[in-house]
Structure formats: C-alpha cells, structure tokens
Symmetry: C2
Subunit: 332 residues, 2 copies
C-alpha cells in the first residue's frame, strides 16, 4: 500500500473495510505479548467472521493464550508463533498500541503481508499499520470489531458474540469503568441477543478460583497499605509470598483501588529481579503519565510499567511519582 | 377496588397503569425491612416521576435507607415510618414478595389507601396487592419500573435514570448473573443515555471501603472453608470476629461462590443469638428451596434465612440441608 491510512471515528470508513473485502485470502490475527481478553476476543471474533467469508486465517502471537481464557470459542486455534509464514494478504493487530509488543513478528508482517491493519482504542497508539483505525472513544476494541463486523454485514454467531462480549466485559471492568457509554450497553444487548451468555462469561472469568485461593488472597490483603492522607493505596508483593498463579489470576490492584479515599492504587510485584507495576486511577489523576515516566503506558485510569528491583527501592520510586501526580491533581 | 388484578408480562397492562393516571393524588412509596438498591432505586424513580406529574409523594418503610445508598438521588426523602398517614390514593411496594416484611405498615395501607400496587419479580410473591404486577422474567424490578415509566410517557431525568440503573446494576451483580437478558442491556443503554453514569454508581457501591476494611476482609477470607469434594463453600463468622460494619458492606458470600468447584456458597453470621444465612447457587441447585426449609426465601440462585444459634449447630444444620440439595442436583 501507499500512504498509511488513519481513521478515528466509531464507524469504520471504506478504507478500513477495504482489506477485508473481495473473495477471501490469507490472514493472520496477530496478538501481542501476554494477550488479554480484549486482544484475544477481538482477534478470534474477526478471524472467525473472515473464515465464514472464505478466508484462510491463522491466530497467534509471541505468547500463548492464558489458561483463564480457555473458554473463548476458537482460542485453541491461537498459538505461540515464531514465524508468520506467508505470503499473506492481511495481518490484523487489535488493542496493541506499540508494535514492539509483538517481539519482532511485526517486522515479518511488513515483509510478507500486503496490508497491516491496526485496530485500537489506546490514545498512545503508534500508528504503525498501513491502515490505522484508532477510536479512543471506544471502551474496548471489542466495540470497534463489533462495528466492523456490522459494516461488513457478517452475521453474529454465538461464538463471535461470546468473544466480543468477553472483550468488552473485561475492558470495562464488568461495565463499571468511566469508559462505558450508552453504545457499550447497546452493543452488549446485541451480543446477548446473538447468543453471548453473561453468566457463563462471568463465571468463566471470576468464579474459577482454586479451593485454596481465598486463603492466599486473604494473606495478600493483609499487606495492603494506605497512605496517611488516604489518597495512595498500594500492595507491594515480594517474590514468593503469594504463589504466582494467585497473583496472575486475582486483579489485586483493584483492592487498594476500592478504598474510598484512594485516588491512585498501585500493585508492585517482584519477580526475577524486576518489579511489575500496575496503576489504577479514578479519573482525577492520569496514571498513564505516571507509567510513562518509567517507560510504560496504558490509559488515563489504568496503566502499567516494569521497573528494576529490589522491591523496596522500586516501591519508593513509584510511590514518589504517584505522590507528585496526586498532589498536582485538581482535587488536591 | 374489587377483585385483585394480576399481570405477569414485561409490558404493563392498562390495569397496572390505571392507578397512576389522572391528575395526581397522594402516594406512599413503601419499602420493606432493610431496603436494598432494587427497592430504593425503584421507589425513588417511580416517586420522582409521579411528582413530575403533580403527585404528592412520601417515601419510607420500617427501616431507614442504608448509608451505602446515600448517593441515590432523592434518598434523603426516604424515612423510617411508624405511620403512613392518609387518606392515600396509592401505596406502591416494589421488590417485596411478602407483606410481612413491611412490619405492619401494609395493614395501615389497607385501611387508608384506595389502591395497593405490588410490583415484583420474585416467583414466590404473595400477590397481596389490589394490583399485582409480577414479572419473573425481569432481572430486577428496576426493569419493570423502567417499562412502567415508558408506558406512562414519563421523561427520564438523570435522577430517575441513576436510581433505575443502580437498581438493575445491583440485582444483576453488575450485569453478571443468569437473570441478565438482552433487554437488561437495552434498558441500561437507555438509562446511560438519560444521564446515569456507570462509573459513578460503581464507585459509590464498590469503592467505598474504609482504609482498614481490606485487613478485615483478609481476616474473614482466611476462614472460608470448602468441602472435601469442593462442591460446598462456606464462611461461618462468630459475632465480634469481624466488625459489623465490614460484614454489612462486603458481599462476603460471593467469595466462597467464586471457587470454581463450589455449587452452593453459604455465609453464616452470628448476631444476638441468631444466625443470618445467605445462600448463593450457580444454577444447578435451587437455593430458594433450601432457604424455605428454614422459613426463608429468595430466588433460585440467591436466597436467605435466619436460624437459631449457636453458630456451630446452625452451620451443621444448614450445611446438611445444602449437602442434600447438592447431592440431588443433576450435575452430581
């Protein structure tokens, strides 16, 4: 293709639809590192829809799908990839603001694919595709792919609906975050109408705890700290205190977030000498800017970064940055 | 009125609308003991709508509104009532299956009101009104009152929309339960379009923890037990172990429910010599029937009862009943 195309409104333009027209072809749905439900749900929904139109579709990325998302219809097709194969007609990335997160697979795509399509709702998206559809008003890329399938005239199967519903459900914190709009609910209604089952998705996501998980969760919660003024809440977990499988499956950062006075919540997890940091805000502080100071990224209310250990020094540095941001916020 | 009227479909019939017609009158929106968000949100929404049409409306019941729901628009109007006053044109009860739960206020209503309107979605509703609108397909009475206001042609203000959105949000566990339908989401879309703000409601409901609440939650979670076969999960809390304000504000029964293998979750709270029991199922066991054995009630997946103490004996009895029900279930 010639000059990259950029489109930013909720309804896809003809240029966004164009790569998916015609009588089919070979496509790869390419995920980024540690793919979550918004990535996998949208890649699977779009891929299954294209298969229904005669396309030959492969699904994968640098990491396999996590066990937690084994219930997504078609996710058994998603693989860890070393190579994309080719030649390809289209490579699609969803919910991936930075091509570095493909660990080099994007470079293969540039060599072997006619078109790279970048579908995302992150404001800091790098516009690395030939077609870049970046709708920052979407609560989840699940909303965007829903609009794409509608524009393509693809019928919603229960498998497609379940993938999109899960994508939207997780990226909105179960329809609770400030990114939720009337459109989010209208799309959810259509997806349930097409066969997505909210209770099955919720049970698959949230009611999968192991019998011993609550004891470990209790152990973690006793370590939550709240600053004297109540505005910072954090949980710093040294390696080995709580099993990795518990930390991976519990959204621990949501607990300090749930304290009424807390404006920014922070989870710091030590592992292999580095500290993975998750930040959550409540609208008055832009946590993406805090994460960016440490080379990370995300959204206004949810961001993350990785900083060098040891944990006490990492905690000190991150909390100092959070404190500066909170003290500068309008509600201070 | 003459013979009681019964109506069971989602859209209100002329007989259901009739008490709210005409040029206004005096109405009481009557709540039951320990009113929750589905009760208060619907009473306030309907009352505010009637006030907009020239009615004189009072709001109250045997207990005041809980602090947690102080954010509901108009809830400062809701009072603990000893007497209804009168004469009244209409008394409305919502989400109240059993008139005994009004602690005698229903008898006053029978003496002083022209019409008692009973709006509910519980299957075990006693049909105690002059007009009984019982739609068991509704996820929340919030859906029913939405349909009522639509049929009455009442414009949705942000205050009305917030009350109805909160009612639906809480009775569906944040759009996660099996009662959620496409209609639930369509109504949520309309309410957000009318000014309800999902993030404000969610923050008001779920992010109000005190700084010390997570430590107490951790303490409670270390006491969760799971049966050897994994199918029963329970938490038995002796009086005084965790402060009453924590137990009141945390939906503790949802934690044992979150264990994948658990089919029925049970919370037992000792207080003043009796034990309050909350039961939650996952579709394969009817917990309402278990609660009914102890004089309680509720829904298929959520029910409760109160049994005599002491706690160990109460726990033994309730778990024995749960075990019998689980062993009889189709998935056994």
């Amino acid at each position: 293709m010639s000059a990259p195309i950029e489109h930013t409104s909720p309804v896809p333009s003809p240029a966004v639809l164009e790569p998916f027209g015609g009588g089919g072809g070979r496509a790869v749905m390419l995920g980024h590192v540690h793919p979550d439900a918004d990535v996998l749900g949208t890649l699977l929904a779009l891929g299954l829809a294209l298969e229904g139109r005669g396309w030959n579709v492969a699904y994968g990325g640098p990491h396999p799908a996590p066990d937690l998302l084994a219930f997504l219809p078609g996710v058994d097709r998603y693989r860890r990839l070393d190579t994309l194969g080719g030649p390809l007609d289209v490579v699609v990335l969803t919910d991936c603001p930075n091509p570095l997160r493909t660990e080099g697979l994007i470079d293969q795509a540039r060599r072997t694919a006619k078109v790279i399509v970048n579908i995302d709702h992150h404001p800091d998206n790098r516009r690395y595709g030939d077609v870049n559809w970046i709708d920052t008003s979407a609560a989840a890329t699940g909303e965007m792919v829903y609009e794409l399938l509608r524009a393509l005239g693809v019928p919603l199967t229960p498998a497609i609906a379940t993938n999109l519903f899960t994508a939207i459900h997780t990226d909105t914190g179960s329809f609770r975050y400030s990114n939720v709009t009337s459109r989010t609910f209208t799309i959810a209604a259509a997806l349930v109408g097409a066969g997505a089952r909210p209770e099955v998705v919720s049970e698959s996501l949230y009611e999968r705890r192991a019998p011993d998980a609550l004891r470990w969760l209790g152990e973690a919660l006793t370590r939550v700290e709240v600053s004297e003024d109540g505005r910072l809440g954090w949980l710093a977990l040294p390696a080995g205190v709580v099993p990795e499988r518990i930390v991976e499956s519990e959204e621990l950062v949501n607990y300090p977030r749930s304290v009424a006075s807390v404006r920014v919540a922070c989870l710091l997890r030590e592992r292999d000498g580095t500290v993975k940091v998750s930040l959550r805000g409540k609208g008055d502080v832009d946590v993406q800017k805090i994460a960016a100071q440490f080379g990370g990224g995300g959204h206004v209310n949810a961001a993350g970064c990785t900083v060098p250990g040891p944990l006490p020094e990492a905690t000190r540095q991150v909390l100092a940055a959070v404190r500066r941001a909170v003290d500068r916020s309008p509600s201070s």
